[in-house]
C-alpha cells in the first residue's frame, strides 16, 4: 500500500521529496505502471490503472479545482522571519533560503480567491515540499487572512492540508498558529459561513489538531496518512506494529472523523455538489 510506505516520513527537513519525478514517462509508486506525464496530468495526477494518488503541490490543486485564470493569489511574498535564530545541524535562515530556491515557493501554503464553477471561494493549499508542509508563522498568518477574506466577503473557505505539523524551528510561535487559525474559524462559524477541510497525504500533528479537523465538512483523498501523532511515535509507545490501514483516510472514515473520501479526479464535482447545500 502506497500510504503505508510513506508513513515513515515525518516533518524532518530531509523528507521534502516531491512525488512527481521529472521526465515524460513516470512510473507509478504503487503499481509500477509506466504512464505518460500528460495522461497523468489529465487524470488529476491519479494513476489510471491503480488509482494511486501522486502527491501534488498547490499549483496542481489550483488548476484541478479552479476555473481557468480565475485564481488570484494573495500574500505571495510573505516569508518566514527567524525569530528564534534557530540552528540545528543547519541554520533555519539558510534552510528557508535554500528551500525557497529549490521549491520556487515562499512558504508552505498558497492562499487566494477564485472560482469553483460559479462560486467564489477563499482558498488555501499547503505544500508538503516546503519543509514538510510545516506550519510556522507564515502558514498561520496566511491561513488566518484567507479565513478573514471568507468572513469579509461572506464566501466559503476551503483549505487543503498536506503537512507534517507545526514547524519546530519557530518553537512556541508555530504552536500558537494553531490557536490563531482556530480562533478565526470560530468567527467564521459564528457568521454562519462554510468551511470545507480537505485532507491529503500526509496530514499530521498540529495541522490535524487545528484547522484540518474543524471543517463543517471534512473530505479526504484515498489512502492518505492522517493523524495526530506520527506512526513511528505511536509504535514506540505501544511497543508493537500498527494494524494495517491505521491512520489512513479509510480508518478515519470508519471511526467517524471524515465525511467522505473522494478520488481526486472527482474532487471538483463533489466539492461543487456539496457547496450547493452550504448556504441558507
Amino acid at each position: 500500500m502506497g500510504w503505508f510506505k510513506r508513513s515513515k516520513e515525518n516533518i524532518s527537513p530531509e523528507s521534502q521529496k516531491f512525488d512527481i519525478p521529472d521526465g515524460q514517462w513516470i512510473k507509478c509508486n504503487s503499481c509500477s505502471e509506466i504512464i505518460h506525464r500528460k495522461q497523468l496530468e489529465l487524470n488529476a495526477w491519479v494513476c489510471p490503472s491503480c488509482d494511486y494518488h501522486f502527491r501534488i503541490g498547490s499549483g496542481e490543486y489550483i488548476s484541478i479545482l479552479f476555473e481557468k485564470n480565475s485564481f488570484k493569489e494573495c500574500d505571495p511574498k510573505m516569508k518566514s522571519g527567524d525569530p528564534l535564530e534557530f540552528t540545528d545541524t543547519k541554520k533555519y535562515s539558510d534552510r528557508i533560503k535554500s528551500t525557497i530556491k529549490k521549491s520556487g515557493l515562499n512558504d508552505a501554503v498558497k492562499t487566494g480567491l477564485g472560482m469553483i464553477g460559479n462560486k467564489k471561494v477563499s482558498f488555501a493549499c499547503m505544500d508538503f515540499r516546503f519543509i514538510g508542509g510545516s506550519m510556522g508563522s507564515v502558514v498561520g498568518e496566511k491561513i488566518a487572512r484567507a479565513i478573514d477574506r471568507a468572513y469579509n466577503e461572506k464566501i466559503p473557505m476551503i483549505i487543503i492540508s498536506q503537512s507534517g505539523g507545526a514547524r519546530m524551528m519557530e518553537g512556541a510561535l508555530s504552536l500558537m498558529q494553531m490557536a490563531k487559525t482556530s480562533a478565526r474559524l470560530a468567527r467564521l462559524d459564528d457568521a454562519g459561513l462554510p468551511f470545507i477541510s480537505i485532507l491529503t497525504d500526509p496530514t499530521t500533528g498540529g495541522t490535524t489538531a487545528s484547522y484540518a479537523m474543524l471543517g463543517d465538512i471534512i473530505i479526504a483523498e484515498p489512502k492518505a496518512l492522517i493523524g495526530f501523532a506520527g506512526p513511528r511515535v505511536i509504535k514506540q509507545t505501544i511497543g508493537k506494529d500498527l494494524p494495517e490501514g491505521f491512520q489512513s483516510s479509510e480508518f478515519l472514515l470508519e471511526h467517524g472523523f471524515v465525511d467522505y473520501i473522494v478520488n481526486r479526479k472527482n474532487m471538483k464535482e463533489k466539492l461543487s455538489q456539496t457547496l450547493e447545500y452550504l448556504k441558507k
Binding site: N10, I11, S12, P13, D75, K77, M78, K79, S80, G81, P83, L84, F86, T87, D88, T89, S137, G140, E141, A144, A166, R167, M168, M169, G171, A172, L173, L175, M176, Q177, M178, A179, K180, S182, A183, R184, L185, A186, R187, D190, G206, T208, A209, S210, Y211, A212, M213, L214, G227, F228, A229, V233, I234, T237, I238, P243, Q247, H255, G256, F257
Partner: protein, 315 residues
Amino acid sequence: MKNVLDFEKPIIELEAKIAEMRKYEDKLQIEEEIKILEDKVYQLKKNVFQNLSRWQRVQLARHPERPYTLDYIYMITDDYVELHGDRYYGDDKAIVGGFATIDGRQVMIIGHQKGRDTKSNLYRNFGMPNPEGYRKALRLMKLAEKYNKPVITLLDTPGAFPGLEAEQNGQAEAIARNLLEMSRLKVPIIVTVIGEGASGGALGIGVGDRVMMLENTWYSVISPESCSSILWRSWEFKEQAAEALKLTAADLLKLKIIDRIIPEPLGGAHKDHQKTANTLKNILIEELDSLVKIKSDKLVNLRLEKFAKMGVYEE
C-alpha cells in the same frame, strides 16, 4: 540522594551540613559559623538559579516534587467540587477539573494531572491526556460559560498521549475543537503553565485571555528530546534543542506569547509549595478581578486579537 538534580546537589549538601550543625548549636557555640555557611548557601543558590540553562529549567519543570494541579487546587481554593467524565466515552485521569472557590470567587478550574510515583503515574497516564480528557475539559468550560464562571486552566503535560485508541477516538479533533471553542468562550479564561507545556497536548486547554508561566517551566511546539531526535537524528542533543527552541518563560515573554511570569521561590517551586501557591493565588485573583469587568463580546474579540498578533514574518 533521591529526586535531586545535578545542579541542586552542592546546595543541598551545604543545607544538610547546616542542619547537622544546628543540632549542636547550643553546646558548641558555632552560631557564627552557621551564619557564614547560610550566607554561602544563599549566594550559591542565587548564583545557580539566576544562571540556569534552558535545559536546567526543563529539568526543574519536570521535578518530581513540584506541585501539580491538584496540589494547587488544595492550596489555593476554599472549596472544590471535582467533576468527572466527558459524557461520551470515559473519564480521563490525566485531566482533572471542577467548580472551585478562590477567596469568595467562584471559578471553574481545570488542569493536567501527573502522578507522583509509579502507581499514580500509571493511573494518571503520566499527565498525557486522551481525547476524552480534552472533551471533559470542554464540557466543564461550557458548563462554566452557562453559569458565568471564569475558567482557570493549569498546564502540565509531556504531551497528548500518542496511542492507538487516542488516534482512533480523534485526539486531533478533540484538541482542535477545544482551540476553537476556547477562542469563543464567553467567560474569562486564565491559563498558567505550572510545569511542562508540551505542544498541542498543552495548548488543548491553553487558549485564554491571560497566558502566564511559572518561572521554571517550559512551553513549546515539541519537547527538547523529540526535537533532538528529529533534527539531530539522535536523542543526545536535548540541551542544544532546548536552547534552540527558546522555551522558557523569559523567552516566551520576549516573544509576546505569554503575558506574565509568576516568580517561584529561590530554588524552585518544589522547595516551597505553599509559597508558590500563595504567589499564584494572588496573581490569579488580580487577573480575575480585572477580567470579569470586561463584557463578554469584547472579551472574545480581545482574545481573538491577542492570538492574531502572534507570529513573526516578513512581507
